[in-house]
């Protein structure tokens, strides 16, 4: 009924709004779309600016190139391992802490909470942290990127809000009367009810590990331990592949046309590399989107 009273001004507003939003959607989507079509187009057409809306001169060459680079596979495997083990370690630190801090009758709760919140605002900074990591003998080890970044205080606070607001205290009370101690209450009651928050936390942390580049830059120098993001930077931003290939060519004494062709492929390869490295995230994303949004919603409750 009220909707029927929509005036002409309101309708105009709706149309303008829809048009502007469509424009925004195009701006957000086009760079991703272009990356995909450029990765399967003829490298020459991409470099010369012939590709805009559809692939030109379809080819899988760039992908063949990427798949033949062993260090990309090594980086992929390393990142996969870091993500799986790192996320498990994250959950091990985050979930019990969030559960315990959600207990209102915890003796010393105020002090303990402060202890956990201080690192959010104040930290030692790059060098004191580096020196500590070095004295713990954690530099250039296979488990370095698993152990570091173990606890995100922000995530822990989000999980704590979940325990406070989503599991009624009476459940624990009746379990206590039935003789369940605190361990039992956590492992038998809280954990089985934590599936949504476990999913949210695992996803947040996993994305962090997958995309992390800073930690490896600071603490890893052994090339066999480098994660995908470091290899990506070497190839995409520092043009390492292109350089080594040109050196190869000088040795092989290949003619200029072949040299140019390979330089083009190296350029087109970057698009396919971007696609391949982001694919796991972007493919999984539509399925897990609602969990991420849920996490953000829980987080915003705390204010």
């Amino acid at each position: 009924m009220a909707l029927k009273r929509e005036t002409r001004a309101d309708r105009t507003f709706g149309v303008i709004n829809a048009v502007l939003l469509t424009l925004i959607v195009v701006v957000e989507l086009y760079p991703l779309y272009f990356t995909v079509i450029a990765s399967i187009s003829d490298p020459y057409a991409v470099v010369k600016g012939k590709v805009f809306l559809t692939p030109v001169g379809f080819t899988w060459d760039a992908y063949k190139y990427v798949f033949s680079e062993s260090r990309i596979w090594r980086g992929y495997r390393n990142t996969l391992l870091y993500t799986v083990f790192g996320t498990s370690w994250n959950l091990l630190l985050t979930i019990p802490t969030a559960y315990v801090l959600s207990k209102k009758d915890l003796v010393g709760r105020g002090w303990i909470t402060t202890f956990f919140l201080v690192p959010m605002y104040f930290g030692g900074g790059l060098i004191p942290t580096y020196l500590q990591v070095r004295s713990l003998n954690l530099i250039d080890k296979p488990w370095t990127l698993v152990v570091l970044g173990g606890l995100s205080i922000y995530n822990m606070v989000v999980a704590r809000v979940y325990y406070q607001s989503s599991i009624p205290g009476e459940i624990y009370e009746s379990a206590r009367i039935d003789g369940a101690n605190d361990f039992k209450q956590f492992f038998r009651i809280a954990l089985p009810l934590s599936a949504p928050i476990l999913a949210v936390m695992a996803l947040y942390y996993a994305v962090g590990h997958w995309n992390d580049y800073f930690t490896a830059l600071i603490y890893i120098s052994n090339s066999r331990l480098q994660p995908l993001q470091i290899e990506l930077r070497n190839i995409l931003l520092m043009n390492q592949t292109a350089v080594t290939q040109i050196e190869d060519m000088l040795e092989e004494d290949i003619d200029m046309a072949e040299l140019a062709r390979r330089a083009y492929i190296a350029e087109a390869m970057k698009y396919s590399l971007i696609f391949i490295s982001s694919a796991p995230m972007l493919i999984a994303y539509p399925f897990v989107q609602k969990y991420f949004v849920k996490g953000m919603m829980i987080g915003s409750l705390k204010g």
Partner: protein, 309 residues
Amino acid sequence: MNTVAKGRRRSHSLRKALGMWQLYVLLLPAVVYLILFNYVPMYGVQIAFRDFRASRGILGSKWVGLKYFIKFVTYPNFWKIIRNTVTLSAYGLALFPLALILAMMLNEVGNLRFKKFAQMVTYAPHFISTVVLCSMVALFFGRASGLVNNVRELLGYERFAYMESTAAFKHLYVWSGKWQNTGWNTIIYMSALAGVSTELIEAARIDGANRVQIIWHVNLPAILPTVVILLIMNCGSILSIGFEKVYLLQNSLNLDASQVISTYVYDIGLQSGQYSYSSAIGLFNTVINIMFVMTVNTISKKITDVGLW
């Protein structure tokens, strides 16, 4: 009398604490982790006031007071670094309302499928890694074969070396960030907007308010507290431009615009091994950040009664 009561209460809470020892055991791993990786480095920050020599350890190194802070403040490029840092964050901060506007726009969409689609598309770039984002910027804005320059050429303009330009750096940095995160940042506003009472909107409509008036007089005031909280949090990081993205977009030609505090801390600390000097710069940065949050928080509490604490 009083002390006796206090003592009794203390022994009571001690007994209570002992009764819940298992909870403390559950906390233990995280506490140990924070001590090792956060609190020990906090203690170690004192090397900013010492001439740190690894062989002598932290306490054995000579105390030099503010020497390294003075060194930083009197460094000829000090103001340039500060200016770059502040420019990048102030620019980003000036575009803070973008997410709010986008959220308002999404909220006005009647067609649910289009709304869902628009949300999905605008959230997606959030999941791209910093390395990939910076690579995309480099690819799209590259001089020789980047899409943007190809379009420029088609339109009859000269090709332009965006990546090497000091003038373009801040725009590339800030707008690529907005491209990546504006959609994602709407989530928090969308949840606040979902909480606006429909009765209020209905009442306004009956009083003859049009959609723009409803947005302005009903929706906006309803989510203002959320906006203020986020604004304070954003202000707090005015001097903490993240390292990763600047570092990845940086090159020797745009360094005049792209050297910020965090990249300088890295250069001085890990590239040239001046641990004490680097720690001093880092500490300087942290302290200013904390002061900034506190100031903005106080002002905001006076004006709007909303604050972080």
